[in-house]
Structures are given as structure tokens and as C-alpha cells.
Subunit: 129 residues, 2 copies
């Protein structure tokens, strides 16, 4: 799978890397138990610091998206994905709240908001079909 | 209006401040032409660096939410709010895309996603009514 990183973006690189891997899982590009490059290899591929990759991998491991083994290396969690927990829902609402606030401030209608989200739902799952 | 800042949050303080002011506008707490504290006063009130407040105010000014005058100081844009531009829509989709990706990865259903968003739409506008 191709990891896309925008070095000029305001979004931290470790966040972009996390997002890219999660999108890979959603699209079906990255399957359970599939190996990911080692921290060193990923850092070298992307031309970023090893610390950055480490940070992304650690967050993904904490949340249960990947496993990190001494021998087997880094793999997409073979036991399945984390679920919608109450802890996650708090984070989810914290993240989406300011986006909705700005949309409202700019006069976006809820039906348009829903349509844009539906497009993204479809788009992200497209390859899974 | 009360600005809520969480110093322990992973979200940068200038972003929290921006979000808080936008929420204030959406709720109707902050009305067009209403003055905001000066950079110095806001920094002192929140116990944060003036540079942090400056950064938040500058982003809000660039986007058209506030105006900054030498004499009148900082005010909520009296000429109205910025609109849903094509540039904004690109940012909007970039911001919401990883949130939807993670929700999908965790198996959230679209109807639940829509319900959570509807709650936030209602909640954010509550005081306006």
C-alpha cells in the first residue's frame, strides 16, 4: 500500500501516518496480520525521523490497530479491530465538535453536511466492496 | 462568555482558543461587533503565552471570524461570518475524513454516526434558539 505524507501540511507527520494506516485498513489494502515495515524501514521510505514513525506506531498499538512483536515485527492486529468504546466516543465527539461548529458558523446546512459525510463513507470503503 | 482551555489536552492551546471562540459565535454568546479581550488580557485571563493568543487571533482574522483594529481592538466580524467556500470545503473534508475512517474501522454504523452529529448540531445551536 502507498502511504501518503504531506511534509508541508499543518497536520503532524505522525498523525498523517496514523491516519494513512487506518485508511489502509478501512479500504482493505491492509488486512489483519499483514506486516508493516519496521520503524527504521518506514522512516527511511518516507524520509522522516524514526521517532515520528515510533510515535505513530505506539498510538496505533495502544488503540489496538496494530501489534508490535520482537520477532514478527509490526502487523495489523490479527485479532480484529478495536470497537466503539465509551472512551472512544468521547474522543470522537471532541474531534468532530469543532468541525461542526465551524460548519455551522459558515452557514453549512445539516443536509449538506450529511451528504459530504456520506460521500466520505462511500469513498473510504470503496475498495472493500 | 467563558473560554474553556484544557492545558493537559493534546490539542494545541491556540486551536482550543479558536474553537472556543467559534463555538461562542455559533451559540450566540458572541455577537457580531462584540469586543474580545486584547491579546494581553486574554493571555493573562487564561494564564497562557501572548504568542498563543496572537496565533489564534491571527487565524481567526485570516478566516474572517474576527477583525483586529488598532483603535477598536478585537471584535467579532461585524460584517458577518465567512461562507462555505471551495477552499474551506477542501479543509473540511481533510479534517473529517480521518475521523470517519477511524469510525468505520471500529465498526461504527453510518446511522449512529449521523445521530451523534445531529446531537452536536442541536447542542451547539441550543442557546441561539
Amino acid at each position: 500500500m502507498i502511504i501518503k505524507i504531506d511534509l508541508r501540511s499543518e497536520i503532524p507527520i505522525y498523525t498523517q501516518l496514523q491516519n494513512s494506516i487506518i485508511e489502509g485498513i478501512v479500504s482493505g489494502d491492509l488486512k489483519p496480520a499483514e506486516p508493516l515495515p519496521s520503524v527504521r524501514a518506514m522512516a527511511s521510505d518516507l524520509g522522516v525521523n524514526m521517532h515520528t514513525v515510533n510515535k505513530a506506531y505506539n498510538f496505533l498499538r495502544q488503540d489496538g490497530f496494530i501489534q508490535i512483536h520482537r520477532q514478527k515485527g509490526v502487523v495489523i492486529n490479527p485479532e480484529g479491530m478495536p470497537e466503539v468504546t465509551s472512551e472512544y466516543l468521547i474522543k470522537f465527539k471532541q474531534e468532530i465538535r469543532p468541525i461542526i461548529a465551524e460548519a455551522l458558523c459558515r452557514g453549512m446546512e445539516q443536509k449538506d453536511f450529511n451528504r459530504f459525510c456520506e460521500e466520505l463513507f462511500t469513498n473510504l470503503q470503496k475498495k472493500r466492496g
